[in-house]
């Protein structure tokens, strides 16, 4: 056994996943940058930015799976934390534009000049410094999740009520960010980014680097989630998911556990959003729309809730399907497919893809164990609640 507790927390599949992500983080940028485009091994920049986007979604799905799959909190507003992280990064990128904007104002972004704002609002201060922006990427969603969660969990809002309230949260933010006087560019959001840490965001090298960083972030996120789930803390989370009242009666402070994991998950979603924005080049209020958040839930459901790997795979899979179908002649039917996916997964495949595979393997192992011992207790997690 290795001396590192983090590695010890890994099962075999988890280790394979970490190795896979590390390989992708190295190999894809190399194939994109060093291999000539004519070579069959070359990876196009289009592919890099497309999958860079998916990887960010995967990190969001991972964050969602941590609270839904292991703690039974179905958040229909995780897109809000994702978007907040994105906005924090977007504000940094806006400040980097400087005099290259349309109005060439060294301090104020274009939309503020356009709206006749005399000076930079106080909450925009400090965003020219990258470390401060990074801090806000984690802090803004984290604080919101902490305050919201403190109120919600303390008064024992659970189940569908909590889902509806989280949806309301993101809806309220959507309305707010659409307003011009909110100070975040209103309808158009933040865009026209020039460079990040001095590197041009459009450049091939920057894109490859962002891809690598996103993949490493996903890897780190996975390791952290895995460590949490395998720890004693994680066991309590699972206990809360399966029998909240019983866990409370056993003496655990359920709301503290929930608040802790909810805030952590929001921070992860914020980081995902921050990595997403420089890759797509825009952040606008539509990221807050409740439909986006609920779509993230279906990624997790497709991949398999409570499996972590499944959540990440589900995000990439569903989004690849979305890109594939919405760009072809099948575009008008994509929503039918997405809707059908929601129904099919919940009715026919409640464990998701990875969950079902795990379940099937566990059953097979149990059958193989000829001696009358009890079947392997690795059964995939039950549905939340």
């Amino acid at each position: 056994m290795t001396p590192f507790p983090l590695i010890r927390a890994m099962d075999r599949g988890g280790l394979a996943f970490v190795v896979l992500l590390a390989t992708i983080a190295v190999v894809v940028p190399v194939l994109n940058l060093a291999v000539p485009p004519t070579s069959p091994f070359s990876v196009s920049t289009y592919f890099v930015s497309l999958f860079g986007k998916y990887i960010c979604y995967a990190l969001l799905a991972l964050a969602l799976d941590l609270i839904w799959g292991y703690c039974g909190i179905l958040s229909l507003g995780h897109g809000a934390f994702f978007a907040l992280g994105g906005y924090a990064m977007g504000m940094y990128l806006m400040r980097q534009i400087g005099t290259r904007g349309v109005y060439a104002d060294p301090i104020r972004p274009d939309f503020m000049v356009f709206l006749n704002w005399p000076e930079l609002p106080v909450y925009w201060y400090g965003f020219q410094h990258f470390p401060y922006a990074l801090l806000m990427v984690v802090l803004a969603p984290g604080m919101l999740a902490f305050v919201f969660g403190w109120f919600a969990f303390r008064s024992r809002v659970t189940g569908v009520y909590l889902s509806i309230i989280t949806q309301t949260l993101t809806f309220a933010l959507l309305l707010g960010f659409f307003r011009n006087n909110f100070g975040f560019g209103g309808n158009n959001g933040l865009t026209d980014f020039k460079d990040i840490l001095g590197f041009n965001v459009q450049a091939q090298g920057t894109r490859a680097a962002l891809f690598a960083i996103s993949t490493l972030a996903l890897m780190t996120g996975f390791i952290i989630c895995r460590a949490i789930v395998a720890s004693k803390f994680g066991k309590v989370l699972i206990a809360i998911r399966d029998a909240e009242s019983r866990t409370r009666f056993l003496g655990y402070r359920v709301e503290s556990y929930k608040l802790c994991v909810f805030t952590l998950s929001a921070c992860m979603a914020g980081i995902a959003g921050a990595l997403y924005v420089p890759q797509v080049g825009i952040i606008n209020p539509s990221e807050f729309s409740p439909a986006n958040s609920i779509e993230a839930v279906i990624w997790v459901a497709v991949g398999g809730r409570g499996t972590l790997i499944g959540a990440a795979l589900g995000a990439v899979l569903v989004n690849y399907a979305k890109t594939y179908f919405t760009s072809g002649v099948l575009a008008p039917y994509w929503l039918f497919m997405l809707g059908g996916l929601f129904i099919a997964v919940t009715v026919l495949l409640p464990r998701g893809i990875v969950g079902s595979v795990n379940h099937w393997m566990a059953e097979r192992r149990a059958r193989k164990a000829t001696i009358g011992s009890s079947p392997a207790a690795v059964a995939a997690p039950r549905a939340a609640e």
Binding site: L74, F148, F151, A152, R154, S155, R156, V157, G159, V160, Y161, S163, I164, I165, Q167, T168, L169, F171, A172, L175, G176, F178, R179, P290, I294, V297, I298, A301, P332, Y333, L335, F336, L338, G339, G340, L341, F342, I343, V345, T346, V347, P350, A383, A384, E385
Partner: protein
């Protein structure tokens, strides 16, 4: 050279006019005034308009109307004024007879500018004071009230003396008061009396008028005006609050209609139906289809189109609801979060299906005559469609309440809501109740769609705009109790409308959302929560 030439021509014409003048001048004030149009000079035209208007000639209104539309023509050569009537026939402005022979060759329209347009408006206002329907006279009086044109004073005095309709007479008096107040020659006593008349009007226009008394008025007049404004503000604020309350009731009734079905399904089955908004949309599209069929087959039935659409919408949405319950929801019992996701998927499918079938654009749904229009109560305007929707909501509510209290189905539904397993043990087929409940909730959503088609755009996204608000109502009001839904809907509706003037529509909405999140802290199960052991499970 050219200048000299034109000056020469002017001289010739001037001589010509002088030669003709005696004949015209003796013909009377109307003809006299009319002749001034011929110079096509803005100053002369102003005098001509006022002269024609004051002459009392029956053709006066027609001539000024023609001037406004650029149909008034003059011939400098023959020193005559003509106008074209609606049939494009040339009419002699003096006689009112069509010109049969000898049309002048130099006909040109009399030019007007913006200042003249205001003069024309005022003159027309004064002219129509005495003729036409009472509504037209009322409108004319209103126009004078707005223009405060001093020239209208004689006409107003005449009109007040002749007027028999009390409502129009009051309007005329107010218009006269508005004119007097702005008349420099009027005495202070007259002006203060005028302020009294205007004050009795008591609306926003009156406040605006009194707040802007001419700067050269005496101190006494100014004081009287300020006092009057102060006394009117209180009344206006009250009416403003009433109007807001009315808008709030209207919004609340819409929310209640949309949320009642949701509350029933949630209460009985613990299922949040995310496709509920789409059931509303189906109801609205049913109305559209019904109206299209009626237009095509039997237009005489149009007045009954909504009455026909209501049961059909109930059936369409209800059947879809039962199908959904039998095919999807019943496999997801005990998994409320999963049914939430599945119904969300369903809502995507239904939206896209309607988009494919009917197109993404808004569809036109007409209103029968008894639902269009408005009437006024004091200072507030009440539109018939909103009024009917409130009445309709109450009817639906009472019917539903009766259904739950008095019928067998209602009894069984309440039993399942309170304790599912005990109800099953007592021989209630809970599966059947679930299907019927889901059908009923969806059917009511369909009915709500019929009502919403009258006040909102019928588009595939119709349901989406109401679903979050409906959830808020259910969360706020609590489940399993229809009164909670009704109280919740009206509270939210009214709170929304009262916050809007202070905070703006969007910020008002955000405030409401935040307040609800805070409210949930105090009462996690809503205003009218069911009490009992089963509910806590």
């Amino acid at each position: 050279m050219l200048g000299l030439c034109s000056r020469w021509l002017t001289l010739v014409f001037a001589l010509g006019i002088y030669a003709a003048l005696p004949i015209v001048a003796f013909a009377g004030p109307y003809e006299d005034a009319l002749s001034r149009f011929v110079t096509n000079d803005f100053g002369d035209t102003t005098e001509a308009i006022n002269g024609v208007a004051a002459s009392g000639n029956p053709l006066a209104a027609v001539v000024i109307d023609a001037l406004q539309d650029g149909r008034l023509l003059f011939s400098a050569e023959s020193n005559k004024v003509f106008f074209r009537d609606s049939a494009d026939q040339l009419i002699d402005a003096v006689t009112g007879q069509p010109v049969t022979a000898g049309t002048p060759t130099d006909l040109a329209p009399v030019e007007i500018n913006n200042r003249l347009r205001r003069v024309i408006e005022a003159a027309l206002g004064a002219l129509t004071l005495m003729v036409g329907e009472p509504d037209k006279r009322l409108e004319a009086a209103e126009r004078v009230f707005q223009s405060r044109d001093a020239n209208a004073l004689p006409a107003l005095d005449q009109a007040i003396a002749k007027e028999t309709d009390g409502r129009v007479k009051q309007a005329l008096k107010e218009a006269r008061a508005a004119v007097v107040l702005n008349l420099d020659e009027a005495s202070d006593a007259d002006k203060i009396e005028a302020i009294g008349v205007i004050r009795s009007r008591g609306n926003q226009d009156a406040v605006a008028l009194l707040a802007n008394v001419p700067a050269n008025s005496s101190a006494a007049v100014k004081k009287a005006a300020t006092d009057a404004v102060a006394s009117m503000q209180g009344g206006l604020a009250l009416w403003g609050a009433l109007q807001n309350a009315w808008y709030g009731l209207s919004l609340g009734s819409v929310l209640a209609l949309a949320a009642i079905g949701l509350a029933i399904t949630f209460g009985v089955m613990g299922v949040i139906n995310m496709a509920h908004g789409e059931m509303v949309m189906l109801g609205a599209y049913t109305t559209f289809v019904v109206q299209e069929l009626i237009r095509a087959k039997n237009p005489a039935l149009f007045g009954y189109s909504l009455a026909i659409a209501i049961p059909l919408a109930f059936m369409v949405s209800g059947v879809v609801g039962i199908l959904v319950e039998r095919c999807i929801i019943r496999f997801l019992y005990g998994r409320p979060l999963d049914s939430l996701l599945a119904t969300w998927g369903l809502s995507l499918i239904l939206q896209q299906a309607v988009r494919t079938g009917f197109g993404a654009n808004n569809r036109e749904v007409g209103a029968p005559s008894w639902m269009s229009g408005a009437f006024e109560v004091g200072q507030m305007t009440i539109t018939y469609n909103r009024l009917w929707i409130i009445v309709f909501t109450l009817i639906v509510f009472v019917t539903l309440l009766g259904l739950l209290r008095l019928t067998r189905l209602g009894l069984e539904m309440r039993a399942v809501t309170q304790n599912r397993s005990m109800a099953a043990a007592m021989g209630i087929r809970t599966g059947r109740i679930d299907a019927l409940t889901f059908g009923l909730g969806s059917g009511i959503a369909g009915i709500a769609g019929v009502a919403l088609s009258q006040i909102d755009n019928v588009s595939p996204n119709l349901g989406q705009s109401y679903i979050i608000d409906s959830f808020m109502v259910v969360v706020f009001g609590g489940v399993g109790n229809l009164w909670g839904t009704l109280v919740g809907a009206f509270t939210l509706g009214i709170a929304n409308k009262f916050l809007e003037p202070f905070a703006g529509a969007v910020l008002g909405k955000i405030t409401i959302l935040v307040l609800i999140i805070l409210f949930i802290q105090k009462r996690p199960r809503g205003l009218f929560a069911l009490k009992g052991r089963a509910v806590e499970a």
